[in-house]
């Protein structure tokens, strides 16, 4: 049996304990509310994304279907018209392909299925091929893309750099696509690549609308798109930069932004060389490869 004094002590102890528990519960409740808020925000962004994506995918498909139908129905002599329609189909399909790549990559990153495949890569050819692919889009806005590549003498075997060409291509495509999207018509874009202390640096500079300082932090968040007034004019799903950032993290790389509203933006990525790969292959433009030592071009 407890004495009265012991009993009171015990009660006191239990009381403080329950007070502590209460406090803990309250804190956890607050945390939960915070998480809930974040979740519902993310849910809202996600549903916004889905409606966005529907446009992104359905619209190009409708134009591709309509245009190709027109081509089938066109007269054989109408070659000029057919050609211009084919050009439109190509640009729509190009955009669609790029968007889908981003979406699939984002899904694979979230599922933890992405790992880099390093191979000695011709950086010059990779970037040139991206610029050629975007030439048509740039011409539509009368943009000029200047590309310069500075070869470091220390770089082994000509200018091959060990990285994952496919993922590098997606990273640079996203930066270039953004630059084209947010450039003013008839201006220019500068792309520069160089090697600095064994690190690959690629800079994409535009003279477009720029980004506000307060927005610089959130542009890498999923599904975020700045400036809703632009949304009606520009396509996009707000995944590009978050995919870019995740891929750079995969490479242990970094991205820096310098931007001023109304002046333009400079995106610079830094990528270290990948681990030694157990293959004797070389990637040319990210699509063509040579395995073994050969001076021949690819077929």
């Amino acid at each position: 049996m407890l004495t009265d004094k012991q009993f009171i002590e015990e009660l006191k102890q239990r009381l403080t304990q329950s007070g502590e528990c209460h406090e803990m519960l309250r804190k956890q409740g607050e945390e939960l509310q915070l998480v809930n808020k974040k979740l519902s925000e993310s849910e809202a962004l996600k549903s916004h994304f889905i409606s966005n994506i529907t446009n992104e995918i359905v619209n190009p498909f409708s134009s591709i279907l309509g245009l190709s139908k027109n081509i089938i129905a066109a007269k054989d002599t109408d070659i000029v018209k057919i050609k211009s329609m084919a050009e439109l189909i190509h640009s729509e399909a190009f955009e669609l392909d790029f968007q889908l790549r981003n979406i699939f990559t984002a899904a694979r990153i979230e599922a933890g299925e992405v790992s880099p495949d390093y191979i000695k890569t011709d950086i010059n050819l990779v970037i040139s091929s991206i610029i050629i692919a975007y030439k048509y889009k740039a011409e539509q806005k009368q943009l000029k893309i200047n590309f310069s590549f500075e070869i470091d003498k220390n770089l082994t075997k000509d200018h091959y750099f060990r990285t994952d060409p496919e993922k590098l291509k997606l990273i640079i495509s996203n930066l270039l696509s953004n630059s084209i999207k947010y450039s003013n018509a008839a201006s220019r874009i500068e792309v520069k690549a160089w090697i600095d202390h064994g690190l690959l640096k690629v800079m994409v500079k535009d003279f477009g609308i720029g980004i506000d300082k307060k927005n610089l932090e959130i542009i890498f968040d999923r599904f975020q798109r700045l400036d809703s007034s632009i949304n009606s004019l520009n396509t996009g799903h707000g995944l590009g930069l978050s995919v870019t950032k995740s891929l750079l993290e995969l490479f242990n790389g970094e991205i820096e932004i310098a931007s001023k509203r109304g002046v333009g933006s400079i995106f610079t990525i830094t990528i270290p060389e990948g681990d030694e790969s157990n293959t004797d292959g070389y990637a040319l433009d990210g699509n063509e490869f040579i395995f073994g030592n050969s001076e021949d071009g690819v077929f």
Binding site: D97, S294, D296
Partner: protein, 160 residues
Amino acid sequence: MESFENIIKTHYLYPAALFAESEPHLVDTILGSCVAVCIFDPVKKIGGINHYMLPFWNGTGLASPKYGNIAIQKLVEKMLAMGAQKENLQAKIFGGGEVIETKSNHFKIGERNIEIAEKTLAEMRIKITGKSIGGKQGRKIRFNTETGVVLMKLIQKQNA
């Protein structure tokens, strides 16, 4: 090097076939989930290639080079018969992409095709000196049986 290509003979390798001849050839083949193993003896300058579709021969029907374990074994045997030395052999493996997207994970033909190549070559103690495997794209390769060089192009689903 157009002139060079004009002199050397070309051969198109069909799925489930293998190719090894003493005369130098450029061997082309196109791979989806199939795997091609290019084996080369850099000393004797002898090269051979196979193109198999499925990983294992299940013991029924013909033990054809349609199956990875058979195709690799047969290719190595043929090359040794042509004068190649076992200890010189090097291998490069290509293909095994999941070109057709399936919801089910049961098949994974590409993945299993790659696995059997790596396993069989390791058992035979043949070094893998180059590879481009997996992914979601098809591949077009050209193997020069005289130099052991392989040229490869990824096949884009939509050509950008």
